[in-house]
Amino acid sequence: MMPFEFLRAEDAVGAVAAVTRHPDAAYLAGGTNLVDRMKLGVATPSLVVDISHLPLDQIVELPDGTVRIGAMVRNSDLAAHFLIRQRYPVLSQALLAGASGQLRNLATTAGNLLQRTRCVYFQDVSMPCNKRDPGSGCSAREGYTRYHAILGASAGCVAVHPSDMAVAMAVLDASVMVTGRTGERSIRLTDLHRLPGDAPHRDTVLTHGELITAVDLPPLSFSQHSAYRKVRDRASYAFALISVAAALELGDRRDAAGIPTIRDVRIAFGGVAHKPWRATAAENLLRGAAASVENFREAADVELAKAETLHDNAFKVTMVRNTVASLLADLTRRQVGDVGGDLAGQEHKP
């Protein structure tokens, strides 16, 4: 590992100042991704600024109902927080589907957002990779692509963002609070991560030295009707092949066949793109439509119309489609069940 200087930040202002004036400084929080990359030689900071002790470890409810999650809240604490479990189950579920208990005890909210892809070529310094070494080429395109993108990729990069948590936050319309040398700003979570385009080395829109201080979850009337479903190669402790986060609000009206209509819906995909993929086309199609499995599948198809698969990952299109349908069917069943409705004949057939 490259030698580095270590600085324990006293406060956010000092941390930002230290990293901003040092072109290859890095923030250290839980360390579960940065330290791994440093061992692999993928990250080579000459200054490491430890922000894990900053007082950003609280979860508070603001007067307008927004839930503010401190950047240094540990993944395990966020998943187990009563407010999150009760009001935003999709977020608890996404966190609990990621990593392992002993990793979640270390990993932080901001660190989870800023973790980097686990593309095997990005992590292997002997291989070309445009994300690690701009202009060197992409080894994945003609390589092992089971875990790679089907949406929004570019000629230069087909990596996916590995976070589960971020997919849930995308569905919850979260915003990221950022502080930098020139002041504070708020970024919609869905705008934080970039598509690779011709600059895959840039994962996010953050500039060097900007520090995430919190993530805000705005009030969403139906957020308790939300869930996360992750499909992976083994039952636990594996990155997603694909995942789907969704929140669903049903209206009182039923169509001629007695099927309830969808008043509002939020859907996002993980494991398919360089960023958490908010499925707005699917949402637009479903708003006002009947909550039927056929409609759920059609909405997924609309969102996936522009999917471009690689030689090992064509299965992801079907997998996303089926997962969208089964997850939305479950969310429908749970709510209509609450009022004694009947969804007979709408069982999801995989």
Partner: protein, 172 residues
């Protein structure tokens, strides 16, 4: 570049000067002679280095020692009270929950941390209900222990050992 750090390891205060690149795992094993945390993958994937760090289970191969100045660490050596093994350690012996034993110190520390998490009501990926109480059935134990790999495949008896302790705790 070096820094002076202090750690409280299994109840004993220790101070050492470390290179900033030193992980907590290497500091314990190579500098302090505390060798129960094992170096398996050294990349946060196997769980062999799991200890209780400030009271919670954590892997320490991806933790820089300098970032944990002042930390309190309990390893498998520190779980026993004198000659009396921790109930989890005793259960591992009684149910034959190991073959080569390399992953075992990490397994027992992880199990101790995991039982405390369940005791606090923390749900897991396989919990049916995020709000309700936790019943540590075999599915829950497997899911919560999935961060500890065992290449001998002693999982069946590891689950049995933990079930025995979890059952005793919930019965008392």
């Amino acid at each position: 570049m070096t820094e002076l750090i202090s750690l409280r390891v299994n109840g004993e205060d220790r101070s050492i000067i470390v290179d900033t690149r030193t992980t907590l795992l290497d500091a314990l094993r190579d500098r302090l002679g505390v060798t129960s945390p094992k170096k398996g993958c050294d990349h946060g994937q196997c769980g062999a280095c799991t200890v209780l760090l400030d009271g919670r289970r954590a892997i320490i191969c991806l933790a820089f020692a300098v970032a944990h100045d002042g930390a309190e660490i309990t390893t498998a050596e520190g779980l026993a009270e004198g000659d009396a093994l921790h109930p989890i350690q005793q259960a591992f012996l009684e149910t034959d929950a190991l073959q080569c034993g390399y992953c075992t110190p990490g397994q027992v520390c992880s199990a101790v941390g995991m039982l405390a998490e369940a005791e606090r009501g923390a749900p897991s990926h396989v919990s049916d209900d995020l709000i309700g109480g936790i019943e540590l059935n075999d599915d829950e134990i497997r899911e919560r222990m999935s961060g500890n790999l065992c290449r001998c495949g002693a999982y069946v008896n590891i689950v049995a050992a933990i079930r025995r302790v979890a059952g005793a705790e919930s019965a008392s």
